[in-house]
Symmetry: C2
Subunit: 750 residues, 2 copies
């Protein structure tokens, strides 16, 4: 008792003293994520808010179990997945939780646990050498990379804030002098190549330094976090261990630069949703800290509320099951059920406009943060305010100014088509301009491979990027896009790719029966223009919407073009003859081709090539326009894969040689149903009879579709004038078509 009173007096004295130095220190702790007032509100509602109480109970069970096991802060040794890595990771997660529990339950055992563990770290840190594992471009001390050290500090800042007032001034000084300040300096000043980038790594570093600075009331650290290190001595050409450039010439650094640069005005994060999810935690937690301690910054309003928009962008870039579309480097299966998205949704709800649609996501997540924002969400759910989050079609710009291409998601019924015409996406970008993936009820029908990495599984390359990520997953051939002369876009060069982006031609989803996106790429292959137009058409007489995919290539000379379709499922039928080789050999030697076996090859049987497959209860047919000399290829992944790192996925590929200009028109038609329980196959055959290119010149491109019952439809497009008000006229086979704007779709019944 006595001790506690003494400590409180000490804290108050300290507060009074510090207040003269800085406004930052004027508030009582906790003040970073939890606030004094917030804790009071939380305590007042305890036992009356089901989701909050359940989350609290689970957290308490977790932490109590850890406390019972005792504290271990082993000498760092392992890569991710190994014991020391996972132990230190678990430690920082537990410290943060224990801090929160101390505040909410006011049970000192949690404060003691935090204090005791912090002092073990304090005792260890000052003599701790650089981590023995050498793979990283910025090795940490507790972990093999500064990134993970920064994770530690982002979480531990919160824990420290929670027991700040419970500690004696002497204890605080000891921790700050021997642990936090040197820790913050190590991940920033001593590692500018890590701290001073535009990259999710730096965001973690910036937030770590900023959050501990805010808690300690250390202005210098907060400024360093917000604006970066002034003179970092970095050279422009340095690279990280994933091959990413450290920084571009003249680039800014720090938390605000990392907010301004990689986020587009629509909230799209240029690395893609997988890394956005990862970076969202430091972005949003640091923002909450700034909002609480420096409300005058109005951080949530910054750049037209880009932080709040980014949460919506993330949710909109997830499939029907909440799994993020695997754009660029991304582990498939990551979803809005992750802990980072619990934070993101809670914070966007509380600091945004209390959007009831966010509550439905929180409800699915089934847990909330034990903070002011988590309480808000739990109260909203208690009051049954939730509305369904309606995902509709969306077009998100890329680039700090929203002028570097973008991502379009066309949605209708069960189908989601993700069309990528972005910038490079920093060091995690893939070389797949104008690629797309197709989802049906949350299943990928035409897949993007994702990344070649088993995150945190130590047996698989230390849980880090595998070499097949570069040799396969990043290459153009790993995506549903066009490959010229077996070479990846930008020749697979990051510096070149980083200078360019695709250009939106138009995006129009005003008519829900036909939603269209069209974009051009002029730099992937010098001298060649790729122009791809995707339409999601809800056509009468079809069970489901169909995808129309028109890819026009204009090149300077004769080339070889490969157009792969990474179909997922069991092959049903092909309408052409093909051979299957007796032995499987690698299909190429580089740019990803070395990882493919050729499983079959044939030539078209007519003007259309058809291929159908089955996946998860539904049939799919690809119909594509063919030329007599086209090669039709079945490939299988798995060559040059000595560690069995790659999945044995199939692809179907159209290869065409020798045209400076050519058009690939294709339809993907989902149809019918089958279940191994009913064993009833319904509409297992495509409804489409023919797909034809009816007209093609420099100005116009027209394709026609005829179904089995004789109905015809025509899609006309203007190739180089997206003016919505421009009138066009075209006569094809004695029929005159007149329309306004860049495209026109006409249905006619037999």
């Amino acid at each position: 008792m006595c001790r506690r009173i003494f400590r409180l007096i000490g804290v108050q004295l300290a507060v009074l003293w510090m207040a003269q130095l800085s406004m930052v220190q004027a508030q009582e702790h906790p003040k970073l994520i939890l606030t004094k007032a917030g804790v009071e509100r939380i305590r007042a509602e305890l036992g009356t808010v089901p989701l909050f109480d359940a989350s609290l109970e689970r957290m308490q069970a977790d932490v109590d179990a850890e406390i019972a096991m005792g504290i271990d802060t082993p000498i760092p040794r392992d890569y991710s997945g190994g014991y020391t890595h996972e132990r230190h990771k678990r430690n920082f997660l537990m410290l943060q939780k224990a801090g929160v529990l101390y505040q909410i339950l006011q049970d000192e055992k949690y404060a003691r646990y935090v204090r005791d563990m912090l002092f073990q770290y304090e005792a260890m840190y000052k003599d701790l050498p650089i981590h023995p594992k050498e793979r990283s471009y910025a090795r940490g001390k507790l972990f093999w990379q500064c990134l993970n050290d920064s994770n530690w500090l982002v979480y531990v800042s919160q824990a420290y804030d929670c027991i700040y007032e419970w500690l004696s001034a002497g204890e605080r000084q000891q921790l700050e002098t021997n642990l936090f300040r040197p820790f913050a300096d190590f991940i920033s000043i001593e590692n500018p190549q890590f701290f001073n980038r535009i990259h999710n790594h730096s965001t973690w570093g910036n937030a770590a330094v900023g959050m501990i600075g805010l808690v300690m009331g250390d202005e210098e650290l907060v400024e360093r976090a917000l604006y970066g290190i002034k003179d970092d001595g970095l050279k422009a050409a340095e690279r990280d261990d994933d091959g990413g450039l450290i920084r571009m010439e003249g680039q800014k650094a720090g938390f605000l630069a990392n907010l301004d640069e990689p986020f587009s005005p629509d909230g799209y994060y240029t690395e893609g949703p997988y890394y956005q999810r990862y970076a969202s935690y430091p972005f949003l937690l640091m923002a909450v800290g700034l909002q609480n301690i420096r409300p005058e910054m109005q951080i949530f309003a910054h750049k037209d509320s880009v932080l709040l928009k980014s949460v919506y962008a993330l949710i909109n870039l997830s499939d029907a099951d909440g799994e993020f579309f695997p754009l660029n480097d991304a582990q498939k299966g990551m979803s809005y059920y992750s802990r980072e998205l619990v934070s993101a949704v809670n914070i966007a709800y509380h600091y945004g406009e209390k959007d009831p649609e966010l509550l439905s996501i929180a409800k699915k997540q089934g847990r909330v943060l034990l903070t002011d924002s988590g309480l808000s969400v739990a109260l909203g759910l208690r009051e049954d305010k939730s509305l369904p989050f309606e995902k509709s079609s969306v077009n998100l710009t890329d680039g700090a100014e929203g002028k570097e291409g973008g991502i379009a998601v066309l949605r209708r019924d069960d189908l989601e088509l993700v069309f990528k015409y972005t910038a490079q996406g920093l060091s995690h970008g893939h070389y797949d301009k104008l690629s797309y993936m197709l989802y049906d009820r949350g299943q990928d029908i035409l897949q993007d491979y994702g990344m070649a990495r088993f995150v945190n599984i130590e047996q698989k390359g230390g849980g880090n990027y595998l070499k097949e990520n570069t040799s396969w997953a990043k290459q153009s051939i790993a995506h549903n896009t066009l490959i010229q002369n077996e070479t990846s876009h930008f020749d697979g060069r990051y510096e070149t790719g980083s200078k360019h982006h695709s250009e939106l031609y138009f995006y129009d989803t005003s008519n829900k029966e036909i939603q269209v996106v069209s974009a051009k790429e002029r730099n992937a292959y010098p001298g060649t223009e790729l122009h791809r137009t995707i339409a999601l058409i809800a056509e009468e007489g079809y069970d489901h919407p169909i995808v129309l995919d028109i890819l026009k290539v204009e090149a300077e000379g004769d080339n070889q073009y490969d157009l792969p379709f990474h179909f997922m499922g069991q092959l049903m039928e092909a309408n052409f003859q093909y051979e299957t080789p007796a032995a499987l050999e690698a299909f190429g030697t580089k740019n990803g081709y070395q990882h493919l076996y050729l499983e079959g090859y044939g030539t078209p049987s007519g003007i259309n090539t058809q291929l159908s497959w089955y996946r998860s209860g539904r049939f799919y047919t690809l119909i594509t326009t063919s030329e007599a000399e086209d090669e039709l290829l079945f490939t299988r992944l798995g060559a040059d894969d000595p560690e069995f790192n790659l999945r044995r996925d199939a692809a179907f590929m159209v290869r065409r040689k020798g045209h400076p200009s050519t058009v690939f028109a294709s339809i993907i038609e989902p149809h019918g149903s089958y279940s191994p329980v009913s064993e009833i196959a319904v509409k297992a055959e495509s409804k489409i009879k023919a797909l034809k290119i009816l007209y093609s010149d420099r100005e116009y491109l027209v394709v026609g579709v005829e179904d089995q019952t004789g109905n015809r439809s025509v899609f006309l497009m203007v190739l180089d004038d997206a003016d919505k008000t421009k009138e066009h006229k075209l006569i094809i086979n004695n029929t005159e078509y007149a329309w306004t704007g860049p495209y026109y779709y006409l249905k006619s019944k037999q």
Copy 2:
């Protein structure tokens, strides 16, 4: 009105007249599946029994939609999956439903629909030639095989029974004379090779003839159905189009023989659960008809209630998700959610002991039959009587007398291990003596391939068996069992296989911590004895139970042994060096080996070979005892597969040459967890340090396991004396072990 009264009088007169001829006709219609009294009970409860009402509503919606579309009885033309096949199939399903609706709702539109369609069939049938498709050994008329014609009659008998009294005597006579009687004769007398077998085909034929006979009061048909055709003129060596023998010398025929022969006293159906499910419908429906019309037969008590036991056997042969273990020919995914199992569960509940555990299955199924038994189930659920169906370990004998081997399922926590030591399983049997499959939470971890067939998907070989079913799926190498000299068991010969079965050595699940099954096979390879023992051990210190698999081979000379593990999932790690070839070539030329590519090969690094993989959130490690000259092989399915009919599944194989006697001891250890959402890998490494064969002679076999923390356990077994009371003593490394019975398991902590 007048017409209806007249009809009723006519019926009553007819009934009076017929009653003098036979007791069969004495009851009023409906009497086969629905009964007059049952319909009254159903009508009295309408609107008060939720599951029944919902099922009725769904059925009415189905039938109303069909009625609105009009009747089509096309000229037969297609294989399964094709229009005429699927149309006639849908017709019989609709006729049965419409008959039921007429009885329950007493709305004559359903009676008219049945009558009108029946008369279209009547008009068509008499001139209908044999079906044009020639693949079947017993071609039908409406369908390509008599089997499907029999399906039709099983359903249509019920429809006819429902409108029997509503029809005029003249209408009945016309239908019976021109349609039903010739139909019944065609599938029996004119196709004895189909009707007079012991086979699920014949069960359908028998039930079809019997059910229409019961409705028509045709004693001759009923007798023919029950006891088969007396003089069928069949020769013993004939075969069906799947390669199955038509019949054995001196075999009985008919419904009762099909009940007596393929069912063991435990209710295991020798073809396996997939076909048992298929045959269960005619078995149980015919039985209900006999129970209603010939109650004196006490058909449900027949052979110690084998029909009721069979329903329990079926449910026990399903995994955690209700999917049947794919023993013998079986399409993966078939489950107790199928329509046949709705019937089976309803009937077993109603005609059995109203077992509340069956109600929990019915609840999951979410629908009931619209019959007396369906009403019983729905009432039971309305009254909340349901109890969970607890699946525990089970050992089911095979063979009419229960003396031809069997199937054991060892269950503990999330794990299910299915060990097969049955007889051949008639023409759908696979050559996989002493094979097993392992399931964890309903996922196959060591798989059985199932069958190579896409049932009813016309694009894939007419929906019928693909040639890869014989060349791959039936072969021994497609299973987790031992293959000698690259030859399948019984040299893949059906006649040989049909003469033999494995022998149970012992089965003991009395101790839930260690459940053991052991069996021997002496005939798969003449001169070689295989003795396999599987233990499911719930061992302290392990997260999950582990599987201990001891396979002892005693041969007369030197052989090559292949022991494949068809692991499912992503390979994590191997503890030995291996090479991966630049080109993939077929691993063999016959007996299934021609479908495998060799993807990697190596040799053991020590006394144990370890391989770990990941599937659905969990890690698995195989630890197996190795000899220095063993070859360790990675194979991939897909060679010689010109139509892409096979899945590209992996296997790992141990190859050992040149021992007349050898032991393969292995452990499968499930451990840890991983999720792509948390990205946290827990216990990704095996806990096992070493697995050793400590002792091996003709009498005893002893293996020892040591874990990473130094705990040791020992499994001792007696090889040729399963006497539970016999005492044994053995000294190994100066330690004396004394125990009673065929095995002993000893744990010792470090």
